[in-house]
Amino acid sequence: MIRSKLKVLSLGVAIGLTAWSQMAVADTSDKKIALSNNYAGNSWRQAMLNSWEKITSQAVKDGIVSSADAFTTAENQVTEQAAQIQNMILQGYDAIVINAASPDALNGAVEEACSAGIKVISFDGIVTAPCAWRIAIDFKQMGKEQLIYLAKHMPDGGNLLEIRGLAGVFVDDEISAGIHEGVAENPQFKIVGSVHGDWAQDVAQKAVAGILPSLPEITGVVTQGGDGYGAAQAFKAADRPTPLIIMGNRQDELKWWKEQKDANGYKTMSVSIAPGVSTLAFWVAQQILDGADVPKELVVPFLRVDQDDLEEKLAGTEVGSVANVEYSLDDAKKVIAGE
């Protein structure tokens, strides 16, 4: 008797659940999504915020979500961003998209958001809290790719100069690890010098100019993006032959490459992450709110510019900005499906 009652009850619950999940797929038009961004001080971040603004304002107009506000902390500090996330919890957002100042130190605030029923989606600068989604970029592969290109175009190998990013940031460690892995696989290359360019042309130029006099002949420069143009200027100022410098999709870098290509057939490649990855994160958040089953770990491809499509990519990049793609809902669905 009791058992059959239980059965009926569980059947009822099951029906209720399916009805509920069907309803959940229906609508996100009343949902609010916030972007918590830790830094806006370079061209990449500016392009990222512009992409977010462009795609989300259209989505709000189309009634896909009710609002998608972007917030940036003023000082790129963990404690400030943690407070910002806590404020978002209070403001009643349904999902928070994060580009984090630290992979671990925001976990307290992220967990608080999760326990308040808010979906947390991190991208680029990801957070490690288990309850959050991560749209990660395979930075290691990005470093390795450079060596694969070099090995193909310079079978004889040679001396490399490595320009690193900002010390102590995990992205810098990952890209550099990928580069060193690539060098280990291609022993004809040797890294003879390494400087920190902080992903900024002026810093990179100063750093390269400082180390150049002590270096033997350089055949290639491996970079992290935002430093290729500065490196080229440093070589020019020192009156040394320009080596093959890997670029990082910045407009000034692509423009310089184009000039060299036209003048003397200069060959290289350029690789970085499209700042529009913020829009991918937005659509993933929308899909999660929509009730879609999204794996916690997603990987986004990086954006590569080659000799052939240089003109096309350069034409589509604004002065002072970064080569970019914005993602659509369909792109997000593909990434979610792992395609």
Binding site: A74, V78, T79, A83, P103, D104
Partner: protein, 312 residues
């Protein structure tokens, strides 16, 4: 006429509480959801580490010095807390104790060699940051469970942060403002020569205050990782300037000896809430630092007005 007005001194000591109330009311108006246990907890829980850092700064300001290394120091403590204190509690505790002693030694060095505190502590800030990077080269680590439990403790009635801040403010108030040795300590900042003539050791007083600063710095770092769950060498660099602003906002002055522990804690809370208030207003981040500065200027201007009426 003036007898009907409360004394400027009273007005001055009420100013920190007044600014906190104003900002709290503004937040409740903008975001009614904040007017709950949950909301207050979210708004204020990051204020506790700032309050501790502010008290640390206040101890140094008491003896007429300034600590430009407190932010990096808190970051170092956080790194130690998330690594050694978790894996080998005894070692961790010993290192933190050493930190406090190092601060006392710093006080002694500054006094004995007659060095400017700004230079010494600024130098130390690079030392602490370097040590923090050695202990924890990439962000990570894990806060000890007991710290996490203490910081997420749900107290009855009001968020635990409020009780903790009130208790700390009260204890420090008793120690510095009401006890006889506290008066001596403040005197060292105000008029060291006469305190020395009266037979008190300035060296001892400075070392005591610096050790206290180190102690509050340790509390700040530990309570911070209790909230963030893990550490980052750069986690608290902001605290240096925030703590100075907190002391001044709370009624302290750069001229030694004029401090207010209760005001400092209130000042730290006001600063924390000011950030939330501005983000509820949806002010663009480009303007936020400026707006925060504007709030500081308004409060300080009010104080000058009160001082002027007192001088009349």
């Amino acid at each position: 006429m003036s007898t009907f007005l409360p004394s400027p001194r009273l007005l001055r000591s009420l100013l920190p509480a007044f600014s906190l109330t104003v900002i709290l009311i503004a937040i409740f108006y903008l975001q009614p959801r904040a007017m709950s246990y949950f909301g207050l907890n979210l708004l204020l829980n990051l204020a506790l580490p700032i309050a501790f850092a502010t008290l640390a700064q206040m101890c140094v300001i008491t003896v007429n010095d300034l600590d430009l290394g407190i932010g990096a120091f808190v970051g170092f403590v956080a790194c130690v807390g998330a690594t050694w204190l978790n894996e080998a509690p005894l070692l961790g505790a010993a290192v933190l104790l050493l930190c406090i002693l190092a601060y006392a030694a710093l006080g002694a060095l500054i006094h004995l060699r007659n060095l400017p505190s700004i230079v010494v502590t600024l130098g130390m800030s690079f030392f602490w940051l370097g040590l923090a990077l050695l202990v924890l080269p990439t962000p990570g680590g894990k806060a000890p469970d007991w710290v996490r439990a203490a910081m997420t403790f749900k107290a009855p009635g009001l968020p635990a942060t409020i009780y903790a801040s009130a208790l700390v403010a009260f204890v420090v108030h008793l120690a510095l403002m009401r006890s006889s040795y506290g008066t001596v300590l403040r005197g060292v900042g105000g008029n060291p020569r006469s305190v020395a003539r009266a037979g008190w050791s300035i060296l001892k007083a400075k070392m005591t205050m610096y050790a206290l600063a180190g102690f509050f710095g340790v509390l700040s770092g530990i309570s911070l990782i209790g909230l963030t769950t893990s550490a980052d060498a750069n986690i608290a660099l902001r605290y240096t300037l925030l703590s100075i602003a907190g002391v001044i906002l709370g009624g302290g002055e750069f001229v030694g000896g004029r401090i207010s522990p209760v005001g400092a804690v209130l000042g730290a809370m006001t600063l924390t809430l000011a950030g939330s208030f501005l983000s509820f207003l949806k002010i663009s981040p480009d303007w936020q630092i400026g707006a925060q500065g504007a709030i500081l200027i308004i409060v300080l201007a009010l104080r000058v007005v009160i001082n002027r009426t007192g001088a009349k």
